[in-house]
Structure formats: C-alpha cells, structure tokens
Symmetry: C2
Subunit: 505 residues, 2 copies
C-alpha cells in the first residue's frame, strides 16, 4: 500500500465531497484500519505468520494481555510494567501473561554478568555454607571462606553461623548486602550515580563468597540450571575472570577459571543433554589504565588459545559514564580483534548525549557483533540506520535500565521505538541476581507489556526467541542446530499450551 496515496486519498475525499458524507466516513474507517495495520507491519515479529495452532495459543495470550492492559487503562496502579520493578516483582509472578512467557522456549540469554547470574534465593542459600566468615569494613560487608585459625586479615571476621546465632536480625541485614532491592527506590536511589554506588558495593560484598572455588562451580551450574528452568538453552556470558581460591590456599588463575567454566558447562550438558551450550565473552572493567588494558589483551590471548571455541569475544564493563571510553584503548582493541576477538561492547548505556554515548561510534567502527544496551543509539540517526542495515543486534535490558536509573517508566524506554521499527533487538537480563529476577522471563514480561503496543502478540515473543539465536555468536552450522532445537521446543510448547488451555479456546 502506498502511504501517500492512502492519506492524500482520505484528505482529498474529506475536502471535496462533503455532500457524500456517508461515503466519506466509510472510507475513513477502512483507510484508518489499513493505515494502522500498515504502521504495525514495521514491528519486530510482524512479518511472522502464525500457524493455526499458534494462533489459538495467541488468542489466549492476547486475552490475558488485553485484560491486564485494559485494567491498567482503568487503574494505572494495576499496570505492573509502568511501575518500578521492585514494587511489582512479586505481583508479576501471578500474571497469566507471565505464566505463558515462563513456558515459552526463549532461545538464548545473550547479556548477563558472571557475578550476578543466580536468583536472590540461591545466592542467599550460599551464605549458609560452612567456613563462611563475614566482617564489616567501613560501609561494606565482606564475605570470605577461611579455615578456622587461618585468618591473617586485620578485619574483625566472624563465622556467619555464629553471627546468626547471636543476632536474629542478621539475615535481614545480609540480604540488603546481596541485592539493591529496596522498598522505596526513589528515595534510596535519587540518581544513577547513587544506585551504581550501591550496585558496585554488592560486587564487593559477594566477591569473596563467589570466588571460593566450590561455590563458584556450584554458582555457575545453578546459573545454567535457572536458565534451563526458564526454557533457555544457550548462553553468552560476560565475565571478568576473578581469580578463585579454596581452603587449602590454592589460587586459580584466569586461564584456570575459564577451564572451570568449561568443565561445569560440560557437566551441566551431561546432566541436561538438550542444553545447547554457552560461550564466554571476556569483559573486564573499563575503569582501568593503559597498562592494565595491556594485561587484558594478554589474558585474552591466553584464554582464546586454550579455549578457542568457548571464548568468543571481548567487552569492557562498569558504569559507562564514569569509566574509560573505548577511544582510550583503540590500539589494544585492534590487537584484540587480530587475536580473533569478536566485540560485544557496552555502548550508549547513558542519558548523556554527545559524551558517553560517543562509545557507540567506536563500538560500530570497531565492528561490534552486538551492542550491549545501545540505550541512546536513536539519538544518532546514522548509527541507527547502520545497525539496522548491518543487523548489529542491540541487547536491551529493560529491568536493568530501570533499576539502574536510565528510565523511570518502561513505556518511555527507547526499546519501544527499536521494537516498533523492527531493529535487530534481543532482550537480556544483565544482572538479574542483584534485583531479584531469575532467567529472562521477568525482562520479557516487562518488554512485552511495557515496551510494545497493546496489540503486539505472540509473533513478537517468537521473534525475540529467534533473534536470540540468530544474533548469537554461534557459527552458521551451530546456529542452524540451535534453531532446530529451539523449533522443536517451540512446537512442544504450542502443543502443551493447547492441552493446558483446551477448556479456554
């Protein structure tokens, strides 16, 4: 349909045939419908055709979506996706839309960080392990495993089991050190810098907990398990490769840590043979100087050589506004490229304009495979056009962007516009552990309800799953295999939904 013809036709009719008002109105309504449909055809997933069975599942999904949506139109307080995640996270679990999303085979998780993967509950459960000590160090609370009588540190370390016995409020206190969750996020975190400060303090708190080798292995295994339970079969993990320790005084190097990841993954795939796999993106902190960056290059050289299939790329992480821009390290980044690193740069995770967001130019000039967040990319017309044409996927992390104070109401997230305009987009979870999410379902729910139109349906969700494989760093043979696995899962999902909803269709 030609847009200009379409609209000028209407306008012309309106102007010239006032005597034929009935006729004009008939045209008006049909033209309006065509126009709305045409407008929607640009959206992510809009080109997918649903089978008759998929359509029946879609009908139930949309009944639930419209019911939630229209309740929100009546009473905004009931509309979860317009509110702060901390205030609605428990309520989301009761949403019928969420229930369906949980069951959808969602493909891959493409953007999450090594120390913020598992659920809040599992992370907390790790603090009950033997030999775990805690101590207060200024504003921070540190955790570490020691053998009894083998503590050299000057901090006033106490065994957690002892603290728990003497202080009934300790567990509550400890939980505040494991996530950034709060009842009153506006007051607790008035701006992005304040929330990042707390966010980074969590890493400090849990570092000694997670880098204890036995925990580290269990942690990564559980991370895979929670993805698997959320119907995700493949993962690309960003990790900064902390050195690990154990009670015997052994220290495990970064190469060994990659080996541990690889071993745990193999074990997990033995236990769950239909889990497709995982790849590793080396992602150290952007708060570093040139010589530290040189050591990152060396680390990458080593781990890429040892694990050429598992290690796929490189990224720099940390609060983008505060860290070094990509321009600080162009020679090293070129070297990394020559070492076979694909890039998955965090870029444009900012509200600043003409400053931090310039990282987007470098991410693209350096030929990033995907872009982490790309929150501000639409402020750059040429770059926007380019990522769309070249299919450089944007890893959108709805909840992360909200709780880390880029956006208040997700209905304002630029992801709305990227999705509406059919950009290459995947939905990712970033650091779900720190805000009490699990898997991808919470982010998918927030995106589906808060970042798409009332009418956007199962085709969008299906496309998201497909995108997560298409935009992965798998090679084309692996991609086809992963897509084929996913497609089977999708068909099972549809059949299961048909059984589940048989009385409702």
């Amino acid at each position: 349909m030609n847009m200009n013809y379409q609209m000028w036709h209407v306008v012309c009719v309106l102007f010239t045939t006032s005597v034929l008002q009935g006729c004009v109105l008939a045209d008006y309504w049909s033209d309006r419908e065509d126009l709305i449909e045409n407008d929607r055809s640009y959206g992510l997933g809009a080109t997918l055709k649903l089978t008759e069975k998929e359509q029946r599942v879609n009908n139930v999904l949309m009944k639930y979506k419209l019911s939630e949506y229209d309740a929100g139109l009546e009473d905004l307080d009931t509309f979860l996706a317009a509110q702060h995640y901390f205030k609605v996270k428990d309520k989301i679990q009761y949403s019928k839309v969420f229930d369906i999303i949980k069951r959808i085979p969602k493909g891959a998780s493409l953007h999450s960080h090594d120390e913020a993967l598992v659920s809040e509950d599992y992370l907390f459960s790790l603090t009950f392990r033997d030999n775990l000590y805690g101590c207060i160090d200024g504003d921070d609370f540190k955790l570490y495993f020691f053998q009894k009588n083998n503590i050299s540190d000057s901090c006033n370390w106490k065994l957690l089991s002892d603290i728990r016995k003497s202080d009934v409020r300790f567990n509550r206190f400890l939980k505040t050190k494991l996530t950034i969750i709060t009842d009153d996020p506006e007051k607790s975190y008035p701006d992005i810098n304040k929330v990042w400060k707390t966010f980074q303090a969590i890493f400090k708190s849990i570092n000694g907990l997670i880098t204890y080798k036995p925990v580290f292995e269990d942690y990564f295994y559980m991370a895979l398990k929670e993805l698997y339970n959320d119907n995700i079969k493949y993962m690309e993990l960003r990790g900064f490769l902390p050195t690990l320790y154990d009670l015997e005084g052994n220290i495990y190097s970064q190469e060994e840590v990659v080996g541990i990841y690889s071993d745990v993954l193999k074990r997990f795939q033995r236990d769950f043979p239909d889990f497709f796999g995982a790849k590793f993106i080396y992602a150290p902190s952007r708060h570093c100087d040139n010589s530290t960056m040189d050591t990152f290059v060396e680390t990458f050289r080593k781990i890429k050589k040892l694990y050429p299939d598992f290690v796929v790329g490189f990224d720099l992480v940390g609060q983008e506004d505060m860290g070094q821009p990509l321009t600080a390290f162009v020679p090293q980044l070129i070297e990394l490229k020559n070492l076979g690193a694909k890039f998955f740069f965090h870029a444009g995770e900012t509200n600043w304009y003409g400053e931090t967001d310039l990282n987007l130019f470098d991410a693209i000039l350096l030929n990033s495979t995907r872009i982490g967040h790309g929150y501000s990319i639409l402020k750059h017309p040429l770059l926007s056009k380019y990522v769309k044409e070249q299919q450089i996927a944007l890893e959108i992390c709805p909840i992360s962007n909200q709780v880390l104070k880029l956006v208040t109401d997700l209905r304002n997230h630029p992801g709305n516009l990227l999705i509406a305009n059919g950009f290459p987009v995947v939905i990712a979870s970033d650091d779900p552990s720190f805000w009490g999410a699990k898997g991808l379902s919470d982010d998918w729910y927030m995106a589906f309800m808060g970042m798409t139109s009332r009418e956007t349906d199962l085709r969008f969700l299906k496309q998201l799953a497909i995108n997560s494989i298409v935009y992965s760093s798998l090679d084309s043979i692996q991609k086809n295999a992963a897509l084929s696995l996913w497609h089977n899962d999708w068909n099972v999902f549809i059949e299961n939904m048909l059984i589940r909803f048989r009385y409702r269709m």
Copy 2:
C-alpha cells in the same frame, strides 16, 4: 559521504592491515570524526550556516553550554535539565545559557492555553483586585468577583482582603491553589492521573478570577506582554472560550469573548507596533458528548464567520487518556473542516501504546496542520515518516511533559530523537502559568540543555525560531512578513550580543 563505504572501509582496514597499525589508527580517528559529523548533520538546524558574527556569538554560547554540561558530567546534581523543573526553576534564572536564550528573538508561541498563560506572579497579583471573594468548596477553593451584598451562591464567600487581614497564612495557601508547584513532586504526584487531578483543580480555582471581564482583558494583555518581553512576536492561542461576567451582571457570550481577544490584541499592537499578531484556535474539552460537540461546531461556525482571520482552527483538550478519542467525533470534525477549520489536534500526549496514541492516526487522517505534543509518534514508524515528509510540525512541550508526568528526565524525552532526526518541531510552553514558567525561554532552555547533544549549538536555536514561523498557520505573505520582522530582530540580537560579549570574544 557514503555511510557504507565509510564504515566498511574502516572495518576492512582493521581486519587486513594489522601490520600497518599506525596507518590504521590515523584512518580510525579521521573516519570517526567524519562519521560523527555526518551523524550530526541530520539534526534540527544542522544545515544552517552561521555568519562570521553569528559564529562569534555561538562561541560564547557554547562556552557557557559546555561549561554547564561538563559540570553536570562531574556532578549530576548541578545539571538542571536532568532534574524536575520545580527543583531547578529558580536556578535556571542564573544560567548564562538561559540569559542568552532569553535575549534570542524566538519567533512565535504556538501551543499554549487561554487560562494558563501569564506568570505566577502576575496571576497572584490579580487576587488583590477589589471585590474578589473566595470560598472553600469541598477540596476546591473558588474565586469570584461580586458586588457587595449581591451574593446569591450558598458558598461561604469572604472578601479576599478580609481573609488576608485575619489570616497571615492565607497568601501562602492561595498560591497553592494557583499552580501545581510543590517541593516534592515525586511524593505529591506519584502518577499522571494524580497530577492531572491537581492540574484540573487549578482551572476550577482560577476560573472565576479570570473570567471576570476586566481581569480577562488585562490577563490577555499581560500574556502578550510577557511573550513580547521574552522576545516572541506572534502567538497562536488555544482557548475554550469561557463566558465572561462583570459586576453589573452582564454575561459575555463566546462570540463576544473572541471579540474581546481581538480588541485586546489590537490595543496591544497599538502599544507595541512591532508585535506581529495572534491567531485563535478554538479548543474546548474532549470530555464531552456528541451533542456538546455539536454545539462546538456551531460556536466555531459563528466565531469563524465573525473573525475569519483571527480564528484559524480547532482542537480538543484535556487529559488525553481520559477524554474522548477523536474517533468519537469524526462527522463533526469533517463538518468543522468544511467550515474552514485547520486542525491542531492534541494527539499522542500519552505513555500508553496502541490506545490513546491512536489519536495520532486520526489527527493525521484529518489532515492536522500541526500536532499538539505528538509525544508518542515515534512508536508509529509510518506516521513518523509521514509527518516528516509532509512537514506536519510537532509542538513539543518539554516542561509540561515532565511536570504532567509523561517523562522524568528530559534526556529521555522522545523530542531528543525528533530533534536529532530533523523532524519538523517547535518548542512550546503549554500551561506555563501553572508551573511558574514565563514565555518560552524556560522550555527552550530545557530543550537546548536536556534534549540536544552537548555539541548542538546556536543553529538549533535559530532553526527553532524559524520553525515557529514556518509552521504557524500564517499564510505565505504573512509568513514572509513575520520572517522578515524576525530576521531584523535576529540581526539586532546578534549585534547586541557582540557588544555585550565584546570582552569575552
């Protein structure tokens, strides 16, 4: 420059010539610069060429802008445009960027409402007029002028001068009834519906104050004067045409009210001959039924016949989420069109998606001359393309959208993207009276600092002024005259700035 060549060139160099790293890097930086420049060339005003004199003024402006911007990068709390307007409105007055913006000939004010035009101070000063009474009516505080001993209403009316004598806190109370300003906007207005409730209560409070004919005349005169003082020479006013009253018991009909506007305007233009003029957009409430809409059509018919040049168009106002959609009144709107009404519909002033925002389709199908707000238009790819191609201007009201709870941080306002992509945009004030703004300068400041890139300069502001005339409803002869007047003012502004800044250049 060809984008694809540009980037593939870089990428290719990166991949193939690792031995020539020096050469690669030289290319990298120059290619990066070209790319950034090319990206910026899409922005509003980017095609304007500054004269040597303008460039000198621009240098000072940008020195101030960068100084504010970079201070914000260091300490977010100092960056006014990222914060709630109520918290920074007083500080804005001390900004050197603001000081320049105030002096800029800004062209026209194209979107503001009849009862919310004047400054907070002037509105308050009107409450000291003789014969003004007040009474508390439930949650509302009503104001009305009566002749002594001529009060038939059952409310407990008291003369304001008497209340002031007996209650020293009354002025403070009264001020809370004239604006929605509050120290803690997040707490006072947790969501859009709550802020609109207070917003609408203000209209109730001041209605009896403003619709007193002598006040009404002075009010409109002062509205023009405050625009004039803010270097604005033309106005398109939206008004719902309340009936007026006086102490003698006369009631003034809607036709007479238009006559009063027209007379006051003439008087103002006698006093300030270089004020270009004003036009009127009849804009009653969208909270109405079909028969009320019929009366609007009749009113428009009468006032258009009486004042064919002054009365230019039609709009429907009120909280868009809650009021009737345009679809409710298509036959009447077609009739209005046939009566010669241009349309300036409020549309897409919402965060909902696939619901209220559908008004955008109707606004465009009905051939709107401009669109009020159009906040959510980018959620609609086809409509976005159309308004850009057909040059249907979007009236962006930054402060309004923030204080009325569409967006928290203006750096997230979709206007950023409209401006970056060179959409036909004007900046407007909406209801400045109710949030203590005056003229357009506050909105221009927030847009310049919060909705454009760090590098966006005087060309953008110049283009905004030009746009306000180009997208007005003036005919082409009038437009040329207005542009010519504006151009003279602009040249005087540049000369004055050169004198003002002579020691700083």
